[in-house]
Amino acid sequence: MLSRRLLLSVSALILVTLPMTGCIRQCCARVTPQPATAAVNEIYQEFPSRGTAETAWRVRWAQESRRGLYITGAWFRRTPTESWIRILWDARLSELFVPYHSGSPRFYDLSGFNFGLIPVSQADAGCCGRLLRDLRPGHTTASPVVVKEVRDRGILWKDDAAGRRGEEMLLWGVLDAGNYNYIMQYGFRDDGTITFRLGGTGENLPGARTEAHMHHGLWRVDIDLAGFPNDSAVLVSHNEPVGSPSATDVAVPFNGGVEGFADWEDLEFTELRVVDTRVRNAIEHKISYDFMPLRRGTARHYGPGEDFTHHDFWVTRYRGTELMYKDITTYVANQESVLDTDVVVWVSTPVHHLPRDEDGNAMSGSWNGVALLMWGGFDLRPRNLFADTPLHP
């Protein structure tokens, strides 16, 4: 029988130890063990993370200076017995344009210099996150530079009798762009959605700490639904004329079916859709994905050579050498067809930074503080990928 003294000591130790840990591993979503056949920098995750698998993602990632973290392949599986469906060939931030309101300076924060990902720590990843190093020959990193989080993402659906919480896998890294750092984050959700997020944080520009500016995320998404080609780009809009009690939603070939641009119209809930012309779900609907922006406003810039900012969506026919968002107007000039072919979608996600006291101050003679994260991005959500509600009994 333990003595009273020993019991007291044990209790004290528990009280001391638990706050130190703050992490109950069993509360974390479960990271799926990686198959031995997985390629270098390939990640495999099943959902739900605990229990019988229903859906799964297979994702390849890469990182490089001037490009940050990017995705070099993503496949989704709707059921454990089905084959993988390719969703992405390549997805990345193509540029980060940061013009200041006075007109100067005007920075290109992604490609301007040899900015790369900075090391990440367990404190960054949190209790449940995991740290990844780049293991590819010639690109091996001594320290982890990517965080993988598999986590609960809140309620997924709820009816009168039951409900379910959703999960997602996040991959994120931090680009060092001088005074600013940018979180480049890709989320792969249990329902087949992919989220693209760019977050700005760090010190406001020295010498212009209180000058407003725009952080313009410019993405290149080479979407290859069920492989390539056989994808078509479509523009979807909602129309509710003034004075009319009814509304319509229309989907038309993007830019008349050829390379070009489109703008996000708030009253129209504009979405760009990529439809596979061959592959259908179990009830014979063509599978597709919708690009759904998350934005607080629209940015346009008028310096020389900045016409790439004059529209919100661009679609090109795939060419492997067309990689620079800044040169998009050249890419679309020959107006090749974007119907039933291999398409690439270019998306603009601006974030307006109006400095505030929370960014820091110079009261003590030197700057003290950092701008808290400001997010921009979009979701790539499946449409008719499933024939009925996924993750539902």
């Binding site: 020993l6 270098v40 100067s104 210099f113 449940c128 190093r133 590819r136 492997g320 110079a362 030197s366």
Partner: protein, 216 residues
């Protein structure tokens, strides 16, 4: 004589250590994914040797196409052009090589076939914001630190100074910096950045500009 049976006494110290070990096992150890079998050549990136080869081939191709004029040309980027299945010979490796030519503010974009070690095509784009090379950064840094005004201001921070660069573009065609390679230098000291001096280096004109804060 009977010997008393001694029960093993669990010492307080042993229990304490045991419980501490259990507690620390719940601490989030650095969760680094185990390494995988490496491959010789990544399918999504160039090796350092390939990058070097691509740069050489591209420079020669640019020369053959009479695009090298008087003045500086810098290699600023090399990127693998990933081949989709069926679009290229699977053994093919193509790279897109970017040079920046100061004369004319011109980007030279050369497609290189690494398997055949030849240039395939070259495009030129004027006033395209292409990356700053390491050499250009060093040139900017050297020019700036050779400026007496700057040397005096930064002298107190010499031992802990880290210089960083941000490439900037002109705001209009009337701007004297239009068509020039201009770099804003940042001075990182300790855990933050100096507000002063605000320094731009015009690499095209080889000029160092020190601005007053707020003049931006």
């Amino acid at each position: 004589m009977l010997h008393a049976v001694r029960r093993p006494r669990i010492s307080l110290a042993a229990v304490s250590i045991g419980l501490l070990l259990i507690g620390f096992s719940h601490l989030p150890a650095q969760q680094v994914e185990p390494s995988r079998q490496e491959v010789q050549r990544p399918q999504d990136a160039l090796t350092p040797a390939e990058r070097e080869l691509a740069g050489r081939i591209a420079l020669e191709f640019v020369r053959e196409n009479q695009l090298l004029t008087v003045g500086q040309v810098f290699l600023v980027d090399v990127e693998l052009v990933r081949a989709k299945e069926g679009t290229l010979d699977p053994a093919a490796r193509q790279a897109l090589v970017t040079h920046y030519r100061y004369d004319g503010d011109l980007a030279l974009l050369t497609l290189v076939d690494l398997a055949r070690e030849v240039g395939v095509s070259v495009d030129t784009v004027r006033h395209l914001a292409v990356p700053l090379s390491e050499t250009e950064f060093e040139n900017a840094r050297r020019l700036a630190l050779a400026d007496d005004r700057l040397a005096r201001i930064l002298a107190p921070y010499e031992s802990e100074l880290r210089v960083e660069a941000l490439l900037t573009q002109a705001q209009s065609t009337d701007d004297p910096w239009y068509g020039h390679r201009v770099v804003r230098l940042l001075f990182h000291v300790g855990t933050g950045y100096l507000d002063e001096p605000v320094v731009y280096v015009d690499l095209t004109a080889e000029d160092v500009i020190i601005e007053e804060p707020g003049a931006l």
